[in-house]
């Protein structure tokens, strides 16, 4: 039984720089099942970030269609997409994911607060998630008191704390050394297996690519044929 989480077709996004019209995405068709662990690979400039932004409802395509978790992202208002992100998505960016003035616990709890979870409960959940990503004892640290790898772990905990359908990660290991990067990938892989949360990770880090269950390679805004490992 395949349960489709993401279904996109003909996604196209142009960028105009002066006279030149660049197709960052050029007719991307995509089907991703619930529980998948997808790595988007491809050269720099191939359109990975652009695609991820589309999937996250942060950017709109010039044409094409996009349905995630049964909802058409392209007909939503900006507020609707914000609500959609809050309820269905988790994000991990390359770096500086965290709100600087908040502690690790508060950063994780922030999204729960946006969802309206009561203070005591959201702090409890946050602590559980921090423990799950191996950051027990770091609850009260501010981002600037943690290493890059620890910060990324907090970001992962935050992305998962709302129990989203889909976690999108753009170069999550780019600012980490290879060992730290690998352990972050192990963590994400483990969470994917335990909780069946869908991950889509854009990266050209070989370690990340090696961890993929589904590898999608992009080239000039297009997708090379899907290969399942």
């Amino acid at each position: 039984m395949s349960d489709v989480l993401i279904s996109a077709s003909g996604l196209t996004r142009y960028y105009e720089s002066g006279e030149l019209k660049v197709a960052a995405l050029d007719g991307v068709d995509l089907l991703i099942e619930r529980g998948a662990y997808v790595v988007l690979a491809g050269r720099s400039g191939s359109g990975k970030t652009t695609l991820l932004n589309m999937l996250g409802g942060l950017d709109r395509p010039d044409s094409g269609s996009l349905v995630i978790a049964g909802q058409n992202l392209l007909t939503m208002s900006s507020a609707g997409r914000a609500r959609f992100r809050l309820c269905h998505l988790g994000f991990v960016f390359q770096a500086y994911n965290l709100i600087r003035v908040l502690s690790a616990r508060e950063n994780v709890a922030y999204v729960l607060q946006l969802q309206g979870v009561k203070k005591k409960q959201r702090f409890q959940l946050a602590d559980q998630w921090l423990a799950r990503v191996g950051l027990q004892g770091f609850e009260n640290r501010r981002p600037d008191q943690m290493s890059g790898g620890q910060q990324q772990r907090v970001a992962v905990a935050r992305a998962l704390a709302t129990e989203p359908d889909l976690v999108l990660a753009d170069e999550p290991t780019a600012n980490l050394d290879s060992h730290t990067g690998e352990s972050l990938m192990d963590l994400m892989r483990k969470l994917n297996e335990e909780r069946c949360t869908t991950f889509v990770i854009a990266s050209h880090d070989p370690a990340v690519i090696a961890s993929a269950r589904t590898l999608i390679t992009m080239q000039d805004g297009k997708i090379a044929p899907v290969e399942t490992l």
Binding site: L58, A82, F84, Y96, L98, I99, Y110, V111
Partner: protein, 402 residues
């Protein structure tokens, strides 16, 4: 949300502190200036009332604009009973008429004001304003107090005789010789010139007006002025007129209002500066957090919420500045209320009669409240543009910011 905004404010402590100090300094100066302004104005208005005019005067209807000896208060006993029933102790009654005064050299027409010296002390401070000699102190003595200019015109000095010529209630000529016992030099035209104060009993006898009074002068604290006026007007009816000090001498009140209007203009200029300072801070802190704002939006923080956070941050800056500024400003006002600001060297020799050379600051509650609310409004207004900019951010572009 409040705690997040608060931490964002505290994060750049130095910049926030500078902004808060600027707001506090602006507000403290405004409060102090109001303190000076209100101190001067209230002193002048108090002095006008306390020296001779009183807060309220009760006359026979029409007396103030067309004073006549025979147009006396219909029933001064009733008025006094009313005043006492309202717990008012500071009042006096007087008799007023016109007279010709003749001294050594010349004569001059003037207002003859009969006062009961003991009673007058409860209502006004005119007795203390005598510079040379003394005030009248016996209700029936043949003594008079003149203004400086009149005394000079008449060529009389303390101890000299002054002859007063007037009509009694039947229109018959009445003349009396009184000894000049005191001279008032006020710098006020209406007092220095054209006024003679003589004992009430003496004047009543001279004019055959025994037991009659032309004005009842009431001294009141400012907050009782309007309610007491209303009570008196309601109870006394049409044959009386109940006039507040500014009904009789509107110039000073109008002048005070004009000056206050200037202060409000000045206030709005300071507000613009305060707002510009806050806006600069809000904009700077917004621009340096673009990436963070982008991440927050990606997480699902709505535009409105983001804008509200920016506004809250400015509001916190404004509130902190308001608290510090109010404390500092009121401390200054309080200090100079006690210590006073000595302006005697700045005031010319003819010291303004109604103004004391030492200004004691005080502030009207409405002025304080208006100023504080205006600064608060300015700090919110200052954040509107940064808030709009934050709300308009596109998440992708914002996240792209390093």
């Amino acid at each position: 949300m409040l705690s997040l905004a608060w931490r964002n404010v505290v994060r750049n402590a130095r910049r926030s502190l500078i902004t808060v100090s600027a707001v506090a300094l602006g507000l403290a100066s405004l409060i102090f200036l109001w303190g000076f302004n209100d101190g001067v104005h209230n002193t002048m208005m108090r002095n006008l009332q306390q020296v001779i005019v009183g807060s309220i005067q009760v006359h026979a209807n029409g007396f103030f604009h067309h004073p006549q000896l025979v147009k006396t208060v219909p029933d001064s006993g009733l008025v006094i009973r009313l005043l006492k029933a309202n717990g008012i102790k500071n009042f006096s009654y007087r008799l007023r008429t016109f007279a010709l005064a003749a001294g050594e050299d010349s004569s001059e027409g003037l207002v003859l004001l009969g006062m009961n010296p003991d009673m007058e002390k409860k209502a006004t401070r005119i007795a203390a304003k005598v510079d040379h000699g003394r005030f009248i102190h016996d209700n029936d003595e043949a003594a008079c107090v003149l203004g400086k200019t009149t005394a000079r015109n008449l060529g009389v000095s303390i101890g000299d005789d002054v002859v007063f010529l007037t009509e009694d209630r039947y229109g018959a000529l009445a003349a009396e010789k009184l000894t000049l016992v005191g001279i008032i030099s006020s710098g006020e035209m209406g007092i220095d010139r054209g006024l003679a104060i003589i004992p009430l009993g003496f004047l009543q006898q001279m004019t055959a007006m025994g037991g009659r009074h032309s004005e009842i002068v009431v001294q009141l604290p400012p907050e009782r002025l309007e309610p007491v006026t209303a009570v008196l007007r309601a109870k006394l009816g049409k044959s009386y007129e109940v006039l507040r000090w500014y009904d009789m001498y509107p110039m000073m009140k109008q002048w005070v209002e004009l000056e206050n209007a200037f202060y409000y203009i000045f206030l709005s200029i300071v507000l613009v500066i305060v707002a510009a300072g806050i806006m600069n801070t809000a904009l700077m802190s917004m621009l340096e957090r673009m990436h963070e704002f982008g991440v927050m939006m990606a997480l699902g923080c709505g535009r409105l919420r983001l804008a509200a956070m920016v506004v809250t941050e400015s509001l916190l800056l404004g509130l902190a500045g308001i608290m510090a500024g109010t404390v500092a400003g009121l401390a200054l006002v309080y200090y100079f209320h006690g210590a006073g600001i000595d302006l005697s060297s700045q005031m010319d020799s003819v010291a303004r009669f109604y103004l004391n050379p030492v200004i004691h600051t005080e502030i009207d509650n409405t002025h304080l409240l208006d100023t504080v609310m205006a600064v608060l409004a300015a700090s919110v207004a200052a954040s509107i543009w940064p808030a709009i900019r934050a709300a308009r951010l596109e998440p992708v572009e914002a996240i792209h910011h390093a």
